[in-house]
Amino acid sequence: MNAPFTNNRWRPPETVMRLKRLGSLHQCRLSFMRVLTRRMASEKWQFSRAVFDVDTRGVGHAVYTATGPERSYSLVAFAHDLPPEQRSDRVIAEAWDATFALFDGVPTQADVDRLSQNVPLQEAGRVSERELTLSRANRSVRLWTHVVDALASGRQPDIAQIDDVGYLMRTTAVYGSGKFGAADRDVIADRPEMHGPFQAEMLTVYFIRTFVRDLVQHMAQNQGGDAAVALDPAIARRLGIGNSTGLGMAPYLVNHPVLFNNWIAAREEAIARVRAIQRASAVEISVFEKLLNRAELSITRWRSAHVAQLQKLADLRTDLQALRTYLADNALTSDYPWDRLHVWAESALNEEGQEFLASLMLEPYGELIDGLAHCMSDTNADAFRIDGAMSVREVRALLEASFGWARDMDWSARKNIARAWYTSEEKLEPRLGERFEEPIAEYEQPLAPARDAALAMRALEGWSDTVPIAEFLLEHAEHRHTIRRAQMHRVAPYGEIHDNTIGADVLPIDMLRAKLSFFGATHFDPRSDRWVRICMYAGAPYPEDLTPENADLWVYPETAS
């Protein structure tokens, strides 16, 4: 079933692209993990573990292979014996509990040997065009020790402790797209199973979760011998893979405006299609209500100690109560029930509740919206090319469309430019510094589109409306980056964040959450204003259990009833 595009009902970018809202996004049917598990199940992918060669200290390697209709992909995993003092989630770490590469195909022994010399070194090693991703993970020492000890002594681990942490290992980076010598995105972008964004990365993490489950069982067996028991599959399923994400991910959204637009636009189109439905069937209403119950359970398990997140969780719980009251008073059997619900939410709920609800009301309508996942890649290479024939008038209008709000801000005021994004010499990773306290301004990265647009608008003052922008660019090459972005607005209306990314009060975790929500992450737990822990694949079936029936809604925990 194909609905016509309903983009006249898309929420406007000035509403959607505020940082506070982006920092309140929730996973939905279009999230990349769910897209992957749905595909693997519907195409009946086969999974195997060809090698699991790990010694009693937990050192060794394993190979897991997934085979789809046309191709195979293999996780090559290396397990290490990491001294506790070297365990760090920081990107500047140099050793990890486990390291991984996703191999394109089925590796030979020579491939594994080559990878064993490089993958454990991560950034200090090199991988090749045969590898699609490079990643690493560290144990949650507390939960790891508890689970190994429990299983080794013949007991199942304590559910409260499982839920309190949520994962046995957390990844601290999953690199793809040609990083450190791996295959470029172009190499795999035309494959149906890799066309969607981050599918290689999502497959990597899915496999890592399986490896970690197998490794913890192996270690318990070694420790307990005959006394050890197998981990209850129901408990294993509750375990996800943690992910610790720092600043490196925040600039990604600014650096990929067309791609980011396509993610947001696909979700906005999905929301608009559902709002346009005149009548909800009894089955659709039932799906929504059941998943609301399951989502509430997930929210009760969402832990954070961060003050901003605690407030957001409190807001979300208040919103859920308001939603319950609304649903008690307003049957979804009226006409245009989702549109009514959405309009009500816009004035009655916080951003957290609005975005939670917007994602949830998509759930009954997979047939209507799942195809939008195909539209979420950036295949528009031409968007990079500047149209120099465009008039100054048109460029002004495009700048105004995304950054009119920024034009009259005082861009010399300290609070508006307190921060600067830069790259550190030490680990070549993005950082956010204090412009007036550190010597970083001359190294600033172009990650303040609002300020730069305001400067370009000022430079354009005095230029005649009818002059081609090519003339301006010859005199003002310093604004070339900004003019290019402005023209991208034509194909990417949701490409720009409508907030100041260098102000004293900017929260990079808002950008991190926006990206991670599209991965399908849950249980965002900021550890500061610039790094966040999340959980991936909690509740998902393991490869041997994956079926079309359980491939999609695993993100919502099963309720007791």
């Binding site: 470029d184 024939a389 830069y422 550190s424 030490e426 950082r431 070339r480």
Partner: protein, 203 residues
Amino acid sequence: MNVSLNEVEALAKKATRGAGYPWGLAEDAAKAVRFLCSNGVDGCAALAGTLRVFDGAQLHNRMPRQVDGFWQAETGDACPIALGAALLDRAGLTTGQVQTVGPIVHPILLVPFIAQIALVNGCAMRFHAGSFQVVTDGKFIETLGAISEHADTARVEQEGKLKAPNSHVSRATPDAAVWDVLNAFAHKTYAPATEESRRKGAG
């Protein structure tokens, strides 16, 4: 060395910025080098050579002007990055016209911009630069003659047909020495680490 095209593009962008170009031109340079490498031409060497010539130059000295019908630098040789961008920006305004270029270093770096012009115009373009010619339809290129590091004059015209284009490749194989030069330029974009920045800014 064997590197991904993403690595080429990322390093080329930082290197160009490190040599003092504005970010917008650095982005164009990065895409240009990637395009050359994907067409089997050593774009890394051309960029490294160009950045050495223009390292530290004032912006207005890098920017081309059209004088007596020739695109050229105010003094000395023209920069192919700034000139390529200027030609491409005019693609929609100069369709069908022959563009002539004065003295220029690493003229091969103009080719990716001319390829984009071919896409805008929807027809093949021919580039003459001293000892060599290149024909491009926007996606592929065909080189004729030995690529030189300098040309006294060059010409771009809407003409030509690809007979035996270079094959596309998915990896680049720059010389380690060239890669080092680009890394040295890129290094200028990195802020020196301080204990304070580690504590405050690191993710």
